[in-house]
Amino acid sequence: MNTKKKLNVRSLLRDNNVTILFIVLCIGAYFASGTTLNFLLPELFTRIGRNTFMVLSLLIPVVAGLGLNFGIVIGAASAQIAIFLVLLMGVKGLPGLLLCVVICTPLAIFFGYLIGRLFNSMKGTEMIGGLVAGYFSDGLYQLLFLFVLGGIIPIANKTLMISTGVGVKNTMKLGDKAGLKYALDNIPMINILDVLFWGGLVASALILLYRLLKKQPLGIGRILKFFVPVAAVYALSFIPVVGRFLGTNRLLLLNAIELGALVAVIVSVIKIIKMKAIDKKAGLPKKEIMGIVIAALAYGATYIPPLFSAFSVVKLPVMTYVCIAGLVIFTSWFLNTKLGQEMRTVGQNRAVANSAGINVDRVRIIAMIMSTVLASYGQLISLQNIGTVATYGSHQQVGLYAIAALLVGGASVQQANAKQAVLGVVLFHTLFILSPVAGKQLLGNAMIGEYFRVFVAYGVIALSLAMHAWSKLMKGKEAAAKAEAAEAKS
């Protein structure tokens, strides 16, 4: 028993070596930099909001066996094309952002399809292919923005174009007059609630009507389960204090933790009551009690002075975080659909998938399209928060940093999940923020820290690719040894 446990600890350490190394690095860099949480946390949560969506867009190709999608750069580029067009049309605010989505979706679908086709012709070398395809498309993108726009297609817009009229300026500003900055971040909570409430109402009505017409069971219970809490919160918003609170678009991290703890406790209690009173199950509801304890601990942590002061300066853009949570839920839902299962099958073994009647090439193309589209949304989210687009640079390093972050979270070429994505973003960007400061403190040179983080990003990818290749090579030998052992037994 004891030895087994020891082994588990060892394998836990081995399987998560990159993650553990990063935790150590982050802690080291934090103390070396001599900075405070009040500096780190706001910066960190801004970056989480900017980057998590993009990292999540990498999950589906990994599941479908296409490895790490270095081609998300192309998704990011299509987002920037959309932004340029919207700036040109001068549509502002949320409508402008929505128009960006409308424009970049078909673009990303088209590009995703092309990448998928390309990858189908180079099975086994998708990753290097994706990387090169990214560079290639960057060349075409530069050609478009530097020469075609203004050079071939006349564009009379002084703010966007270089003074000669040929080529787009180095930066496109989304703030001020353009009105796209924070277009998503600035959506007040009350509006989100409105949409949820009314949208939910209409959808529920339609579903009920459909089921009534088709003479199917109505399933009102499930609909109510979703609708009642939403309606309850909606009703609460009519209380002036709550209404005012919900009228803002930023949520203090402190409040977010308090609210989260409260909701967790309420949900757990309801579950326990249901278990005990309605289902009359025996035994302790371990999971729920754990939930309450964790919620209590998190709430308690806010009373520690340095944490309290740090939590009170972090302002979360609510809608952005809602989008990220939505994508997490969508991904897990999607992987449980028939198509999702087909993707998993293709990812595990193309030959088996083929003989089970799955159209392997088609599934792979769909995976690439989804990833590219999601990546383009990720870039929109990121850019609306930053507020300026570096026309010729914003998209270039997107693939590098997103992939490095995912790998830092413990993912590999063959398996990745949302948990790893989020953990990876937190760790990677902590180091990203801290390393120049630590470099300055330790060696008196901020550049060292900056180069160090670039080195870390490349190094993590190189390490993880090498380990993947090595284990693939070893697996072949292991299988032979296993067969040998089985043989010997007989």
Binding site: K123, A133, G139, L146, F147, R350, V360, F452, A462, A469
Partner: protein, 360 residues
């Protein structure tokens, strides 16, 4: 008609496009009344300048590791050697030769080449050992190992204790400069060696001689027993094993040769260019080298000296001619750079999709 199609297939559509494009550019330059001989001189100079770097691809491809995207490792080693040579001059190491400027410069570059060879070879052995553990995924791994090594050297350029005034920023303390002039060292020593002009075209004889000599050495090596064994290990590892050849050792040999040529190549490049470029300048050089040899007709499994000669000439030719021509047509710069990105990555994509067209 079918025969024409077959011939095109064999030669490769992208190669035809590039060839046609090159001639179109030359003709355009002529029509625009530009100085065509000067342009051609520039093409030849760049041919010799990039040649050895591209040549580094051959042993790599032949020994079975594929196009060596990680040649940047050798390049970094070469830069280290070149920097030490400058430092040695600063320390008065070459004082005995200072009575003759040419001899002095030659001593400088020979020391640089020797050190480059040593550093790059050591790196190459380690790198080869790594690549033996990742068989089948060499291209992806080598690309990222190359990138990481460049990033690592970026840190080293900041912290290594170089003191020479030519190398470090004037306001000391912040490490090495981005570009280091070789004016006082060995700028263009080979370019000017026996150089002459013919029909307005300047021929950098020394540079070309060294390039051809390197090609000849590699060609000889490929015909030697070891070279033949190495090529067989790359072409068909099982065959090589059946013939009693240690495939892993051959791969290390090829990788080391490739990396070492990378180290020598960057020194030759720098003497022709007149500057050492540090930091991220070398990051994408591996891609250009891979693209050149592919343009020359190599595949990701097989390459020859001819591929290097043709590929480098065409690729550098286009880049050299395109820039001035584009500047005449369009006032904006950068077109040449964009062209480089599109051509080099396009040809790599084409080669990748040709090599493994899986149906399943």
């Amino acid at each position: 008609m079918a025969q024409v199609k077959k011939a095109i297939d064999k030669f490769g559509l992208p190669r035809i496009i590039i060839l046609v494009f090159f001639f179109v550019l030359i003709i355009t330059a002529g029509v625009l009344n530009m100085n065509v001989p000067a342009l051609l001189g520039d093409v030849i100079r760049r041919w010799g300048m990039y040649g050895i770097l591209v040549l580094a691809m051959v042993p790599g491809i032949q020994c079975g590791i594929g196009p060596n995207f990680g040649v940047t490792i050798g390049i970094s080693g070469g830069l280290l050697g070149a920097l030490i040579s400058i430092e040695l001059r600063d320390k008065g190491f070459f004082e005995n030769f200072s009575h003759n400027a040419t001899l002095d410069a030659f001593m400088g570059i020979f020391v640089a080449l020797l050190l480059a060879l040593i550093f790059a070879s050591v790196f190459g052995i380690l790198y080869g050992m790594l690549l033996n553990r990742v068989k089948g995924s060499e291209m992806t791994v080598s690309t990222y190992v190359g990138f990481s090594v460049v990033a690592l050297f970026n840190i080293l350029w900041l912290v290594l204790p170089f003191r020479s005034k030519t190398s470090i920023w004037p306001l000391a303390g912040d490490g090495l400069r981005n570009t280091i002039s070789l004016e006082a060292d060995y700028k263009e020593v080979f370019n000017n060696f026996l150089g002459f002009k013919i029909g307005g075209i300047y021929i950098p004889t020394g540079l070309l001689l060294i390039f051809f000599l390197a090609c000849f050495c590699v060609w000889l090596f490929l015909r030697s027993r070891n070279g033949i064994m190495m090529s067989a290990a790359g072409a068909n590892p099982v065959y090589a094993k059946a013939a009693g050849i240690n495939v892993d050792k051959m791969r290390i040999l090829g990788t080391t040769l490739s990396t070492a040529l990378g180290g020598i190549g960057i020194v030759m490049y720098a003497q022709s260019f007149g500057f050492l470029q540090l930091y991220n300048a070398t990051q994408m050089m591996g891609f250009s080298c891979v693209a050149s040899v592919l343009i020359g007709g190599a595949s990701i499994n097989r390459a020859s000296i001819i591929n290097v000669l043709i590929g480098t000439f065409l690729f550098q030719g286009i880049l050299a001619v395109a820039l001035p021509v584009a500047n005449m047509l369009l006032p904006e710069g950068q077109l040449s750079e964009i062209l480089r990105i599109i051509i080099s990555n396009g040809i790599i994509l084409y080669a990748l999709s040709k090599s493994k067209g899986g149906t399943r």
